[in-house]
Structures are given as C-alpha cells and as structure tokens.
Amino acid sequence: MVANEIPLVMPKMSMTMTEGVFLTWHRAEGDRVEAGDVVCEVATDKVDMEVEATVAGTLTRLLAAPEDVIPVGDPIAYVSTEADELLGGLFETEPPRREPPPPEPAAPPEPPRAPAVPAARRLAAERGIDLATITPTGPWGTVRLSDVAVMPRKPNRGRAAVARRMEASARVPQFVLHCDLDLEDVRRTHGWTVLLTHAFARALRRHPELNASWVDGALRYHEHVGVALAVDTSHGLLAPVLTNPDRASPGELAGRIADVVERARGGRLSLAELSAPATTTVSNLGGLGVTGFHALLTPPQATALAIGTVEPRVVPISGGVGVRLRCTVGLTVDHRVADGAAGARLLATLAELL
C-alpha cells in the first residue's frame, strides 16, 4: 500500500469566514496523529479554534506559521496516511497524489534581507510589519528597534473585525431616537442589563416590523429574536448572541448573561454563540458613567439599543419636582426597514413593559 498525502486545510467555521489566522502548532513535523487529535489552533475573526486531524497518519509537512493568514480550504499541513486508500479519489476531482509532493516548488529567489538588529526583526514580526517597508536610521543602513517602534500598528483580529462590521454599518442609513425611561417603580430583581435586555426583547417581539432585515432590496422578517450583547473584553468588543431571551424568565436570563459575559472575558465563547443570527444589539455603557449615546447598527440587524447610566434625576412630577430613577436609552433604527414612528412605538412598548 502506498502512503497517501492528505492535506489538512483551513476549516470554514462560519458562513462568513473566508480566511483564518494560524495561531500555533500543537504537534510537530514527523509526529504520529490519530483522527481527532488536535494538531493546531487557528483563529477566525471571532474566536480561536482547535483543528483536528481528519485521518490517522504522520504529519509530513507543516506549512503554516503563527500569524499567517490562510484562505479557507488552503492546506495548513499534510498528513501521510494509508488509512483511507479506499476513499482515495472518491471526493476529489483529480486523482490522488501517490507520491510525496515534490520538494518546495522552485521557490522564487528570496528578496534581499533588510539589515536589521534582532530586536527590530522580532518586533516587526510581532506586529506584522515588513522590514523592507521601514526606513533604516542605524549605522550601515540597519533598521534599529526605534525605527520599527514608530511604525503604525497592525490591528489585532478583534479590532479588524469590528472595523469591518462598522464600515458596513456606515453604508446603512440609520436614525436614533432617545427617550428617558422611568425606572423608579421597577422591581430591581436583577441587574439593569438583564431587566432591560429582557424587556427590550419582549418589546421587539411585539413589533415584528422592526425585527427584520433589509437584504438585497427586500425586507426579510425574522421568526426569532436574537440579541447580540456587547461585552467589553481584553481582546476587544465581543457580542455573544442570546437567542429568544424574551422566552426565558428574567432569572434564567440573568444566569445566561452572567455565564456568557464571564466566558467572553475568558476567551472561551464558542463560535456558535458568536455567529448565531442576531436581530438586534444591546449595549450598556451606563456602568461606565455614560449618560446616553448612539449605537451603530450591525448589519443586517435593523435595531440597536444603547443604554446609559441608571441614576436618580430631578424631574417634574405633578405639582412640582421630584427625584426619580431614570435612564436615557437610544434606539438606533435602519431607516430602510422602518420609520421614526415605528421606532417610537417600540420605545413606548419598552417603557410600558418596564
């Protein structure tokens, strides 16, 4: 039986994933692996994932290096195997390769190496900066550490993902409605994020005209309510999705939110939680002392709720002034999907439910 080389490829882990970032090897070249063994880790724009061997065999060639950006379906490594000879060719349009692939194809001549001190080389690699693009200021035309340190930083994956989504948001015509919610009489059984998320999801369920998306010139209405909850983490903004939170009791929802926030901050969210379809976003900056703000939509969601600080405020009451617990919320709406009055009605329902 002739050993067959099977490529281990960059997996597609979500509908929107077109490329992944290679993170680290768990196994070395020449290692024996069984199907299901974790071989390496890669990252999508949302989450880090382990990649498992698909067949048993020997890791013959490791092609990826940390921070390499690899298109979905491209090989990361090759596994030499005899295990699936029978399947050889079954799923391929080309006959399977019987011989080890030729040594690295005639590599193009290496570009001249930019002279650089080791520390500069290391920093450039860490930041994904091509040394050849740096103007050296050291002796003998050598790139100094300080030459690299002043270069613009390549954003981390989380930053890039937010940038991509917000650029798409900038193409959406959106308006914002503000209103002050009176929370004085709300029974504070849970945190404000829980209570407001729960009430907002229920309100959205009652206004299906806003639980919708504008896609390719047509309105699409959603059967479910998916709330993407904005969570600030050390890796940047993450938005795990709570599916149908209105159908949970506030107590259950409190547990789900506490769990998801903790795992978001620990970098342990599953891809499914991050890529489940969301129909709206809830963002609460009140805890950071923000009075009120505009949230930007995350297409194709049609709404986003921005929650400000819950605080006692002096307000007019019948016959004079009083102090009431108030909260300014901002409702952002995709104007292609709905108009101002629809948004106002949603806010009125929210106020009523509270």
Partner: protein, 332 residues
C-alpha cells in the same frame, strides 16, 4: 549564621585573611612561592603569615615557577591543599606544562582516581609601570583549558570569599588577582564566609545597557555607570567573578532586558575572554532581543608599553567606557 561583622580591609589584607583562616581550619593547607615567607610576598600579600604558621606551611621556594607548581601538583596528589603564589601572572608561562598538562589533566586521565586540589594565585594586569613582561592579563589562556577553574576577584570581599571557595575546591583553580586592587579597601566579612564559584554578581542595575566587566574593569565600569547616570543613561554592571565556570544566565537575562551590551576587558581584544561571552550571548535567547551589535571594549593588541601615558592608553579607562557606552546607546 548570625550577624557577620564587616570591616574595611584592603584587597591584599582580605586575601591574607582568607589564607590564614583556611590554614587555621585545615592543616593540609600550605603556601609556597617566591618570597612568600620572610619577605611577606612581592606585593605584601602573605605578610606575617610565616610568623603565625611557621616556615613549613609558608614556604619560600627557589626561583623556578615550573618547580613550584610541580611541587604543588605533587603535594595536591598526595592529599595536601597547596596554595601557590606566582609573583606576576606573566611568569605562569614558565609553569605552563605543570598547569596545563599535569594539574588540569590528571584527574581525567586517571579516570577520576586522583584529584589536584591546588590553588594558584597570581597578580595580573597593568597600571604599575611594570612593562610588558609584568603587566599582562592572561585569563583567556587558562579559561581555554578544560580542567582548570579561573577566578578574577574584583573586590576585597570577593578576594577573600572566592579564594576560600577555591581552596575548598577539589580541582586546580587559578585565581588572578589584580595589582592595582591590592590597596583598594572594601567591606569584608570577618567570618570565613565563602563566595561560591560560578555566580555572576550584579553590581548595579539599569535599563539602557548591560556592561560586563572583570577584574579592575569592574570598578571602572561602576565609575563609568555613575557618570552615565548623570547623562540619563542607566547601565547594569555585571561581574562574572569566575570565568570557568561562567555563570552566563544573569548576563543573558540582563541583555534580554536592555538589548545592548558592552563587554569590557583589560586583556587584548583578539582571542580575549569577552569574545567567549559575546558568543554565548548571541547563541542564547537574548539574541532576538539585541538592539545593537554586541560590543567589546578591550586592551589594544599590543604588549603593554612602559611609558606611563602609553600604558594608560593601552587599556580601557573610565572615560573610554563612558564614551563607548554613550555611543552604543546613541547609535542604536
């Protein structure tokens, strides 16, 4: 151990105290060399020891370095703990066969059946107007011979503590003292506290560069670091203290942190011990942290001149260290 009384002793007095305490503690320890007895040593190191321990244990010898070291090797093989003094380290050239081909080899060639617990003390270095045959820094010769340990104390406390460890050691140990240091004073513990061989001392810490220096260059590097601090350049100063075994880890750690290193030796540049330190740095994980070429500041590749101005110019002085460090930081 409870409180250790420290007093100021000169480097020479510290060596003498180590010898006296070692001889008092172990009757196998004895001294031999030219003029170590009645005269008290060419640099006055052995002083009155002959009166305290007698001429059997502080033995004046004929003027034959080969004979002195040969006798010491034989005594060591026979179970004694000889401490040889060679008047000038330059004269070890006369004794090299006994040092290199006998003392360093016997333990290995006899399959470990015998040891040569001999200590050879000898002053090296320039600065006293003693000219080319009495001023060399020959540490690299000895460091290149497997089987020898090589010690270069830079302070009175180390002169005592390292010598005590050398006398304890079952291997031949070459202790290269420095003539200019003999009269330097410093705090020295009164107890027979050992300074272990193979432990680099951190003399000063700073973030901008690491200076590694040995022997008399340690105090010059510290003076230089003081001046550099006034310019806003902060330097770490490391003193390996023993070249064999070399404790490279603190050097690697410091260079990893500062990214710049200046290696200072009195010995001529070519084939000097700091070339070995440089190689160990670039072979280590510190490599990726280097932000400047590993730099050496060394004696010139010339025999030490007799004329005082030229003698001074032939080896690094404080100002040279300051200038080299400044340039290293400015350029890189």
């Amino acid at each position: 151990m409870t409180a250790v009384a420290e007093r100021l002793l000169t480097y020479a007095e510290a060596v003498r105290e180590a010898l006296a305490q070692a001889m008092a503690a172990d009757e196998r320890v004895f001294l031999l060399g030219e003029d170590v007895g009645v005269y008290g040593g060419a640099f006055g190191v052995t002083g009155d020891l002959v009166h305290r321990f007698g001429a059997d244990r502080v033995r004046d010898t004929p003027i034959s370095e080969l004979g002195i070291v040969g006798a010491a090797v034989g005594a060591a093989l026979a179970g004694m703990r000889p401490v040889v003094e060679i008047q000038f380290s330059d004269f070890t050239a006369q004794a090299m066969d006994q040092i290199v081909n006998q003392a360093a080899k016997i333990h290995f060639m006899l399959g470990g059946a015998a040891t040569v617990p001999m200590v050879l003390r000898a002053p090296g270095g320039s600065g006293t107007g003693a000219a080319a045959q009495h001023s060399q820094s020959l540490e690299a010769w000895f460091a290149h011979v497997p089987g020898l340990k090589v010690v270069m104390p830079a302070t009175p406390a180390d002169a005592k503590g390292l010598l005590l460890s050398a006398i304890d050691d079952p291997n031949p140990v070459i202790v290269l003292e420095h003539k200019l240091l003999y009269k330097q004073s410093g705090e020295v513990p009164s107890s027979a506290e050992r300074v272990p061989l193979g432990q680099t001392a951190v003399r000063r810490t700073g973030a901008d560069l690491t200076i590694v220096a040995t022997g008399v260059m340690v105090s010059r590097a510290l003076s230089a670091a003081e001046q550099l601090a006034a310019d806003g350049i902060s330097a770490t100063v490391l003193d390996p203290r023993t070249l064999r075994p070399l404790d490279a880890a603190p050097i690697v750690d410091s260079v990893t942190a500062t990214g710049r290193v200046l290696l200072v030796q009195e010995a001529p540049r070519t084939g000097g011990f700091m070339a070995e330190v440089a190689a160990q740095i670039v072979e280590s994980p510190a490599f990726g942290h280097l932000r400047a070429p590993v730099s050496r500041l060394c004696g010139l590749d010339v025999p030490i001149p007799y004329a005082p101005q030229l003698e001074r110019a032939a080896v690094p002085q404080v100002d040279d260290i300051v200038a080299s460090a400044r340039e290293l930081v400015a350029r890189w």
